[in-house]
């Protein structure tokens, strides 16, 4: 094979360099690897080498209610984007259009595609597909009612967020009427680590305490936002906010299991914020 390549290269370069007699090109002819002509040839599809991966995805259809099942799908990773969401979309486009899941921004900012991938909660658009031939198991967020396939009922989660009154509450008008309430950089830095929350529910649904008491315990996400408003220097209802969560169930079902910090796809630490609230309850 090498000799034929060399022969072809010699012929090609001799044809090309017939006009320009170049000592370098004459030297180039004796190269043991493919010459310019071979480089121009377009290689056909990567010969039969595919990288198949199996995805086991939780399926349940409300129109045809049976026991929920894990269904296998095989896709070629070489023709798929790197993230789990790419794989899901590929499956939906090419193999099974009835696969149902939430998605929107595909860049980890909207929080729609939160699901349980290989046992850990995360955003599908930010979770890379594991290389290797092991199967990837995708199930919906744990301990939530399933509407269909990977879509869960988030009503309770949103209601808990609403219940902590996530807006600015003041008793006095702003210091300069008609203008914004000034806040120092130090006070603004206190909100870092809390304002970035996208309410994807990865943390709350990873907390075993939230699994066993979903309606009475507020969950790490809602408590993180509660702390965000408690720590806001512009908000004047701090004491009332602290009293509102000072309940055996709403706040103190947290046993610092800290699964929430491990699960957060944005790298936040709800456990730390909950500890902050608990400390404020003690001192303030």
């Amino acid at each position: 094979m090498a000799t034929s390549l060399i022969r072809r290269a010699m012929n090609a370069t001799s044809r090309l360099s017939s006009s320009t007699v170049n000592p370098a090109s004459r030297l180039a002819v004796i190269r043991p690897y493919a010459g310019e002509a071979d480089a121009q040839k377009v290689e056909p599809k990567a010969a039969a080498s595919t990288n198949m991966k199996t995805f086991q995805i939780y399926r349940w259809n409300p129109d045809d209610p049976a026991k929920p099942q894990l269904q296998d799908y095989k896709i070629d990773l070489k023709e798929c984007g790197p993230m789990v969401l790419d794989a899901l979309i590929k499956i939906k486009n090419e193999i099974d259009p009835s696969l149902t899941f939430r998605r929107s921004c595909r860049e980890g900012i909207c929080g729609s595609c939160a699901m349980n991938i290989n046992g850990c909660n995360g955003l599908a658009c930010l979770t890379k597909i594991e290389s290797g031939s092991s199967e990837t198991t995708i199930t919906p967020l744990p301990h939530m009612f399933v509407i269909k396939d990977l879509v869960v009922d988030m009503t309770n989660f949103y209601n808990q967020y609403k219940s902590i009154e996530p807006w600015l509450k003041r008793k006095n008008p702003p210091p300069t009427a008609g203008k914004e309430i000034p806040q120092s950089k130090k006070d603004r830095a206190k909100l870092d680590g809390m304002y970035e929350c996208i309410l994807c529910a990865c943390c709350s649904t990873s907390c075993p305490s939230y699994w066993w008491n979903p309606e009475s315990y507020l969950g790490p996400a809602a408590l993180l936002h509660a702390n965000r408003w408690i720590s806001d220097s512009r908000d004047e209802y701090t004491k009332e906010r602290l009293d509102a969560v000072n309940d055996e169930f709403k706040l103190y079902r947290c046993h610092t299991i800290l699964n929430c910090a491990r699960a957060c796809p944005k790298g936040l630490n709800p456990g730390k914020q909950i500890q902050h609230i608990k400390q404020l309850q003690l001192t303030g």
């Binding site: 939780y58 409300p62 046992g119 199930t139 301990h143 509407i147 299991i257 936040l268």
Partner: protein, 193 residues
């Protein structure tokens, strides 16, 4: 959600049951797109009785379609919360709970936490019932001879249970100290992802 509930009530009083069998929803309205996924395989059975219809009739049929879409969509989500269903609905779907314990990958921090709880429960039982055990063991052995036989030949049980209790006590104490350190001095908090 509230609007679909209202539509449900409106529709259930209007639409005849026979029309449900004939008409199957087509995907047009965005709110009914959830239903379309499952009905993709089913063919559209809509067959007008006459090829030409007046615009009015066409609009009426389209409205019926829309209402049917909502009806079958609401049938699928007949339970807004688990178990809740309308009396007029033919099906009450109970939604399953997504898997939690069987599926979730065991984390180090969560395992340590639950072991703390288990050791605490074990120590409490030992503490509160050890007196009962030592007081009543004699009479139990006298009444149940087979138990006494087993107990006689398993003197090592004491050693085993003592070491298990010691293990539980030490683990519980260490976890308690770690908890205190984490709360007061912020030492040893597990790193976030």
């Amino acid at each position: 959600m509230a609007s679909s509930l209202a539509l449900k009530r409106l529709v259930s009083s209007n639409i005849l049951p026979s029309s449900l069998r004939v008409l199957r929803p087509i995907v047009t309205a965005p709110s009914a797109s959830r239903v379309s996924n499952t009905n993709a395989a089913r063919e559209d059975v809509f067959d007008p009785l006459s090829p030409t219809r007046s615009p009015n009739q066409a609009v009426n049929i389209r409205d019926q379609f829309m209402q049917n879409q909502f009806l079958s969509a609401s049938r699928g989500m007949a339970t807004l919360a688990k178990g809740e269903g309308e009396a007029s609905e033919p099906k009450n779907i109970l939604r399953p709970l997504s898997p939690h314990l069987p599926v979730y990958k065991p984390q180090l921090n969560a395992t340590l936490s639950i072991t703390n709880r288990i050791s605490g429960a074990f120590l409490t039982t030992v503490l509160l019932f050890s007196y009962l055990l030592s007081l009543k063991m004699g009479s139990v052995c006298l009444t149940y001879s087979s138990f006494y036989q087993f107990f006689f030949y398993s003197a090592k049980l004491f050693l085993v249970s003592a070491s298990v209790s010691a293990l539980a006590l030490s683990y519980h104490t260490y976890y308690g100290i770690r908890h205190l350190l984490m709360d007061l001095l912020k030492v040893g908090v597990p790193k976030v992802k």
